[in-house]
């Protein structure tokens, strides 16, 4: 320890983990096992993290289920599918690391007590998933994220690891070119706290909620990416946003890819199985970018239902299979759309689902700012490139939660205990800022501006993009950013002021929206999830590279970085 503060709301821990989902909890377990002092800071109780909503499963080449010709799976095939799925934008060294570690990671969760679905022989069950050459996706019915999150929460709780629950992080603190902690609002009291640490790990998840149609939890507002950007750490490949093909019409709650993995099919308003036309080999199990575009095209060409959706038909699977393998999505369809998938098809449309881009980190999870690390969806180590395969995100969270914690454990001996003064002064800065925001004259409604932004992002930076509309969109984002200084909550109490929290989220979301927009406008090609009608082809000559956007003197600067190839040469991507 060795750091004492006269301010009661300053805390010291060797490592601060921001975010309590699968990545944050797995890292916490590793830090705890290493004997370092750590703490986890999260704006929600860890069990309310978005990881809990992951349905379909986790990819690992266990080979428990043989492939079509009786062949067995291995990590190289997993890597190949991942790289091809990424439209060759993934860094192949990172992919190799992930796919090699996948098997041990699934076993590790099993050893901690996760209840996986099982085959007749007692081994962990695996199902086919989009873009995968093997039935490789390990699952726990359609509640894989829930089962894994509860397991890791149990493990970390058992270590008496300190949690700061419902603390919203307001800034990262830098001193002498290092990250030495953060500040946070304790939401229930409104008090500002300072955290001093030798290392900070960002594990804050995605930014899906900058789009109005999203499968994401309402809390996925990209706070971590915005904090990093503000601290001078660039973001990578932010224009690559995954739209999941099958989200429930009306609420956009996820209908797992597992539904098609189990044999579900997509049908247009003419009663036709249209995926045969777009992906003759993989059909309904083509990767998500391909299927989402196909559905959108059917709808745009008048073969969707009124309101803009198609049908996901599971009725032929029969009641037993649906009840055993897909009970969660059946419940969701009944609760939120009044449809029982055993009896009738489910209305679905594409919706934002995943952020492939994120905080730029190297293969060890380090950012350019010493002491700051990132892992999971908030980071871009680039295992997903331009399009993530289903079943690879849960995998990424648990693997890199562990591995990046290992990086920290190794690096931390080189870090001195930081000074307290910069953290105290950062706390003052936040207090000052909040006072200023709360003292403003009443302006526009914060929630209306948020609605305007999320609608704009889906319309102008959605599944099909083009230069002209995107440029208009960027201008509108800039106008909204200017409006921020006029917004203020009506509620002036600091304790449990959720409107203030949403205002602070919105500031970051608009910055993230601008980064997405600028990256998308400059990338004049189509690759993976980024589909431009004015540049419909992939352009490896000019764009086989990562977009890197950083903040310098309050301006966003765009640079590019090469992609790490090695195992697989870029080829045309056909399914």
């Amino acid at each position: 320890m060795g750091v004492a503060s006269t301010v009661e709301s300053i805390h010291y821990h060797d490592v601060i983990i921001i975010g309590g989902g699968l990545t944050g909890l797995r890292a916490a377990l590793q830090i705890s096992n290493s004997g370092l002092s750590g703490a986890l800071v999260s704006k929600v109780h860890p069990l309310r993290s978005h990881s809990v909503a992951a349905q379909g499963g986790m990819n690992a080449s266990l080979g428990n289920v043989p492939g079509d010709d009786g062949a067995s799976d291995d990590w190289k095939m997993h890597a190949y599918d991942t790289v091809k799925g990424s439209d060759y934008l993934a860094d192949q060294d990172a992919v190799e690391k992930m796919c090699r570690e996948a098997v041990a990671t699934v076993y590790e969760l099993e050893h901690m007590g996760t209840v996986w679905s099982r085959l007749e022989n007692g081994k962990i069950a695996q199902r086919p998933f989009g873009g995968a050459g093997f039935p490789r996706t390990c699952y726990a019915a359609d509640r894989t994220g829930h089962n894994a999150l509860h397991t890791l929460y149990e493990q970390v709780l058992n270590k008496n690891f300190p949690f700061y629950e419902e603390f919203f992080v307001t800034s990262l603190v830098k001193d002498k070119g290092r990250c030495i902690g953060c500040t946070a609002i304790e939401i229930m009291t409104g008090k500002i706290h300072g955290f001093i640490s030798k290392a900070v790990l960002m594990a804050t998840g995605g930014f899906g909620r900058i789009f109005n149609r999203s499968t994401n939890a309402l809390i996925n507002t990209g706070d971590g990416q915005a904090l990093a950007l503000e601290a001078g750490v660039p973001l990578k490949d932010m224009e690559f946003v995954q739209f999941h093909p099958t989200t429930l019409y009306g609420t956009n709650i996820l209908m797992s890819e597992g539904a098609r993995g189990e044999g579900g099919i997509l049908i247009n308003s003419q009663g036709k199985r249209f995926m045969e036309k777009y992906a003759p080999n993989s059909v309904d199990l083509a990767p998500r970018d391909v299927v989402a575009r196909s559905i959108e095209q059917e709808i745009r060409e008048g073969r969707g239902y009124d309101g803009g959706y198609v049908h996901l038909d599971l009725t032929h699977l029969g009641s037993d299979r649906i009840m055993e393998r897909l009970p969660g999505i059946r419940q969701i369809a009944m609760d939120f759309a009044g449809v029982d998938p055993i009896k009738e098809p489910v209305p679905v449309q594409p919706g934002q689902h995943y952020s492939m881009g994120g905080i730029d980190v190297d293969i060890n999870g380090s950012t350019i700012l010493p002491g700051l690390y990132a892992a999971g969806e908030c980071a871009c180590i680039s295992v997903h490139g331009a399009n993530r395969l289903g079943g690879n995100s849960l995998l990424e969270t648990v693997i890199f939660g562990r591995l990046v914690a290992d990086t920290i454990i190794k690096d931390i001996n080189n870090f001195q205990i930081p000074d307290i003064l910069p953290v105290e002064s950062a706390v003052n800065d936040v207090e000052f800022k909040i006072k200023e925001v709360m003292g403003r004259e009443k302006g526009a409604n914060i929630f209306d501006v948020k609605d305007e932004m999320t609608e704009l992002m889906f319309q102008k930076f959605g599944i099909f993009r083009n230069g002209q509309t995107m440029k208009k969109g960027l201008n509108e984002i800039l106008k909204m950013e200017n409006k921020l200084s006029e917004l203020t909550p009506n509620n002036k109490d600091l304790a449990v002021n959720q409107t203030l929290i949403q205002f602070l989220e919105l500031e970051g979301m608009l910055k993230i929206a601008e980064v997405v927009a600028r990256g998308a406008i400059k990338r004049k090609e189509s690759r993976g999830s980024h589909m431009r009608t004015d540049h419909p082809d992939r352009d490896d000559k000019n764009f086989l590279k990562h977009t890197i956007i950083g903040l310098e003197d309050n301006n966003l600067n765009i640079n590019y970085k090469p992609v790490t190839l090695g195992m697989f040469e870029p080829k045309e991507r056909v399914y």
């Binding site: 929600v44 069990l47 978005h50 149990e154 969660g328 419940q331 509620n491």
Partner: protein, 254 residues
């Protein structure tokens, strides 16, 4: 239609109820109604939210005197009377507030936990009781190289309990948690039973003994509210009955 919302914050002598009128569009949930309240009526309203898809367990509250997830509860079906759940009576669900249940929805905080502000309760006690039952996997054998095998037929019973999302709707519905604030409650006991029946554990009866105390298995009077309000169909009653049976059998054998 209207929602009638419980309002309380530090410094208020008594809670008050605010009424807000809105249009019950198809698909509107209680959570959606609360967001409209926040956006258009009073942005100081406090309530928990996260997944909005009935999987994270953060938004349990008392809706028309029944503990439910706000995100899963459709306003229209509530007004039609389709979602009636008869409960064994306890203090918090007494009809002490006037409301017109054809026109209004009454929204109050989850009972048996202290209110922090409006619809947000302090879940500390609930998670303390959860922690009391030692909710962590304790395998019987040393770690194998691959997975431990499990009979697929053992999964359905386990899933009944692993499906729990720890929303505390059961805790807020339990007449025993009303009369005995020390009672561990349905969720913690169901979680304990989940570990007991895990075939990889084989710690046997020792697991159950953690709650072989007055505030554990023996406090339940089988009112059954927990099962009726559970959004995930977890059956704590079955767990409690079976645990008692095992413990009694063991007592006789000794």
């Amino acid at each position: 239609m209207k929602i009638k919302v419980y309002r309380y914050h530090d410094g208020m002598k008594n809670p008050r109820y605010d009424t807000f009128e809105l249009e019950p569009k198809p698909g509107l949930t209680i959570l959606g109604a609360l967001f409209q309240f926040q956006q258009n009526f009073d942005d100081s309203i406090a309530f928990h939210y996260s997944c909005r898809g009935a999987v994270c367990g953060t938004c349990a509250m008392l809706i028309n005197k029944v503990p439910r997830l706000a995100c899963r509860t459709q306003v229209a079906s509530l007004l039609n009377g389709d979602l009636k759940i008869p409960l064994s009576p306890y203090h918090a669900i007494e009809e002490n507030i006037e409301w017109d249940n054809k026109e209004e929805v009454l929204i109050e905080p989850l009972p048996h936990l202290p209110v922090i502000k409006d619809l947000i309760v302090d879940m500390g006690k609930f998670f303390e009781y959860y922690k009391d039952i030692e909710p962590v996997f304790k395998p019987a054998d040393s770690t194998p190289e691959k997975e431990r095998l499990m009979d697929p037929d053992s999964i359905p019973e386990l899933e009944l309990y692993t499906n729990c999302i720890l929303c505390a709707a059961c805790f807020g519905s339990c007449p025993i948690d009303d009369s005995d604030p020390e009672y561990l409650g349905p969720a913690a006991l169901a979680k304990l039973y989940r570990f007991y029946i895990d075939p990889r554990e084989e710690n046997g009866i020792e697991r159950l003994k953690i709650a072989d105390i007055p505030r554990g298995w023996w406090d339940c009077k089988f009112h059954g509210n927990c099962r009726r309000v559970c959004p995930k169909d977890v059956p704590p009653l079955i767990a409690i009955a079976k645990a008692r049976e095992q413990l009694e059998k063991e007592g006789e054998d000794r």
